[in-house]
Symmetry: C2
Subunit: 428 residues, 2 copies
């Protein structure tokens, strides 16, 4: 029998604000960061679980403190017992009566819970010798349902309905798994479209994206309407009519402004508008969606939890669901979100980029394809070519597709030398 | 010219779980706590601004760390400049591009921002020699509008509409201020109704509440339906038909369960059902409200921000708006919430109890009565007789009414010896 020893944490920050990588209308100068953790055991296998919360700089220290505060929930526990019932352990953490006051189920404490759970999933997958997506895709429909908490969801999705969705997808699992191994999963790229880039760089990176085989790109918008029209025209000219161009306002607008602004951008055949307004504003997104149809509305990277996603779906407020690996309470909550998306028949196109998000979300999309929605049609994973070199198993994106990861784990493990080099010190 | 020196913080916890004070269906054993701060200046007046976030125990240390992380936003700044434009300073903190990633506008970081802003309001009121409610009620309608951020609100409330609401209330201000000084503001009490109390204690405390002049009490429900029916019957018998009895499920139910449970409690003439389900579930609350009408739905203590309140109002999901002093980003955001409530014509009955919440919210309700809604009809402030002895200016509740506080400040200042005695040490 082995026991958890504790959590090691690191405040890791990359000075991305120096190059305006990642700049958008709401985030002019992000410093891509990770509140990073390792969960250790006294097991003879020496395996360690890795997890993180992605942030954009200031406050990463508080996120680390929140993760640290969860050590007492893990340390000393029986490893097998915890890893054999991650559904139960999810409830233990998320529904802790004192901790939930700090959210509930949102913000720093919820993301900390997610990072700890993801680290446990990383350990579980490594012990199983499988990449997360294959581990999840090997579970029975009932085992997947048992990982999921349906509290606050039952008016939209019951455990029985979830089971039905999963059972329906079961017969095709082997074929789709082979398809992933052979062909990977579609990607789109955000690399050309950061707001801080000038027109020449935009055009050059658009050209590069098409040459690299991407079938969709994304442009940041929302700071200056005339400039957005100009940039979108450049992108459309360079990319040609066949390549999808999504736009992303990063929550910059009020509802009426969003509708007005999108009328100006509509002539350029926009694939979706992402985060037109506050990520809390379900009814606002629904109003925008009705007004600008048929342009689809996308959101998710800042949607706090499954209860919010449930309402976005109930209200017809999104057509593209952009789950995030480190915003919600880990793999379990993302399974609930995938099941909701399947129930409502919307496409899941995860948010990625940042630090390690590409490495993490590919597992969720691939699991979804194999065992939940059973489809990758119109679905794609965001790709940004930043900071992958710091990971032990960086994503393998070629010809516009994510190639299926084969290394055991969730992809969250960073290189020790990267952690050491980019460990944040407030005094320097 | 004086400058801010910095923030002093304390992790203050009271062992309330020992007596089951504060116990409900979701919070069986809270330890009422405060992440407490003092903001100091180099001014000759020696005045200090006090603020806090109320929590229920574990994680209070993380909340303190979040407050501490904001020190660099305050220290070194010109005191007059900041206090003369708290609307601008609100935007500076809430819309900080890196910090907002940690919410946005929700959870630990948002509450930390609220505590810092509230401490600045405390200092401002002390420098003006006025209790907060009178300071706010002395501002012009335009000054009040300037304190408020309308981002994400304009589809429900524009600055012009807010100005109109405030101007309409202006002529009656003096009369209502005098009414408050003479008669105070209505209160209701939650003291009898904690779930951990046995039937005898419930009956005794109900009797006491009526004798003390309260016109409404509140009972916690949601753990056991048969027990709730029994307890509600006892309360109704003891209180008689004239006293209002509200019930509070503290988020325990899913939508269908809430509707079913409330059908069982309806015969006892329920004043409102509070927090029937997740505080994020606007559409769920709306469904409950439709199904159990005319019983009003109340919520707010866990509603993360003004964008969520906006939707609760747009969807007809609440009839009683229970703002909280330390959940949102301080006095400014609560002004926005009061304006929204006035626009939609719902009653505001603040959440209180905890540590220092009664002391804080009375100022908001009194300001609302004098200068915003202009009414106290059907409105009342929650009252719980816990922990007031730790405050420099404890609330004065007699004959079921909050008597208007006259001491300068917001009421947040704790006695130094209480802070010292209850400072949390993880090792004891």
């Amino acid at each position: 029998m082995s026991r958890f020893l504790g959590l090691d944490t690191d405040d890791v920050r990359f000075p991305t604000s120096l190059t305006l990588d990642g700049s958008d209308a709401m985030n002019p100068d992000p410093d891509y960061s990770a509140a990073y953790l390792r969960v250790r055991t006294d097991g003879a296998d020496g395996l360690v679980g890795h997890g993180f919360v992605f942030t954009i700089g200031r406050g990463n220290d508080v996120q680390v403190a929140a993760i640290r505060s969860l050590e007492s929930y893990v340390a000393g526990r029986d490893v097998d017992e915890v890893l054999d019932d991650l559904g139960g352990f999810w409830r233990h953490l998320v529904h802790d009566s004192q901790l939930r006051w700090l959210g509930p189920e949102k913000g720093i404490m919820h993301m900390a819970v997610g990072a700890v759970l993801n680290a446990l999933w990383d350990l579980k997958a490594k012990r199983a010798g499988r990449p997360l997506w294959r581990l999840l895709a090997s579970l029975s429909p009932q085992q997947i349902v048992d990982l999921t908490d349906f509290r606050y969801l039952t008016d939209a999705l019951t455990p029985d309905e979830a089971l039905e969705i999963l059972e329906k997808a079961e017969p095709g699992r082997a074929l789709r798994e082979q398809d992933l191994l052979d062909n990977g999963y579609p990607a789109y790229t955000t690399t050309p479209g950061w707001l801080g880039y000038d027109d020449d760089k935009l055009a050059r990176l658009c050209r590069q994206a098409v040459a690299d085989g991407f079938e969709q790109i994304k442009l940041k918008v929302g700071a200056d309407k005339a400039a957005d029209v100009r940039r979108l025209r450049i992108a459309r000219e360079v990319c040609g009519p066949e390549v999808g161009i999504a736009v992303d306002a990063n929550q910059r607008w009020d509802v009426a402004v969003a509708i007005d602004w999108m009328k100006a951008l509509a002539p350029f055949d926009v694939a979706w508008i992402e985060e037109p307004t506050s990520p809390d504003d379900v009814l606002g997104h629904a109003a925008v969606a009705r007004a600008i149809a048929p342009i689809p509305v996308a959101t998710g990277e800042h949607v706090a939890n499954r209860v919010m996603f449930k309402q976005f779906l109930q209200a017809g407020a999104l057509e593209i669901l952009q789950l995030d690996a480190s915003r919600v309470a880990g793999v379990n909550e993302n399974i609930a979100i995938l099941l909701l998306a399947a129930k409502f028949g919307v496409r899941v196109c995860p948010h990625a980029g940042g630090v390690g998000l590409c490495e993490a979300v590919q597992h969720l999309s691939m699991f979804d394809y194999v065992a939940v929605s059973g489809s990758n049609e119109g679905r794609m994973i965001e790709y940004v070519d930043h900071l992958h070199e710091h990971f032990v198993a960086p994503v393998d994106v070629r010809r516009g597709r994510y190639h299926a990861p084969l290394m055991p784990g969730t992809g969250a493990e960073m290189l020790p030398e990267s952690v050491a080099t980019h460990r944040y010190r407030a005094d320097v």
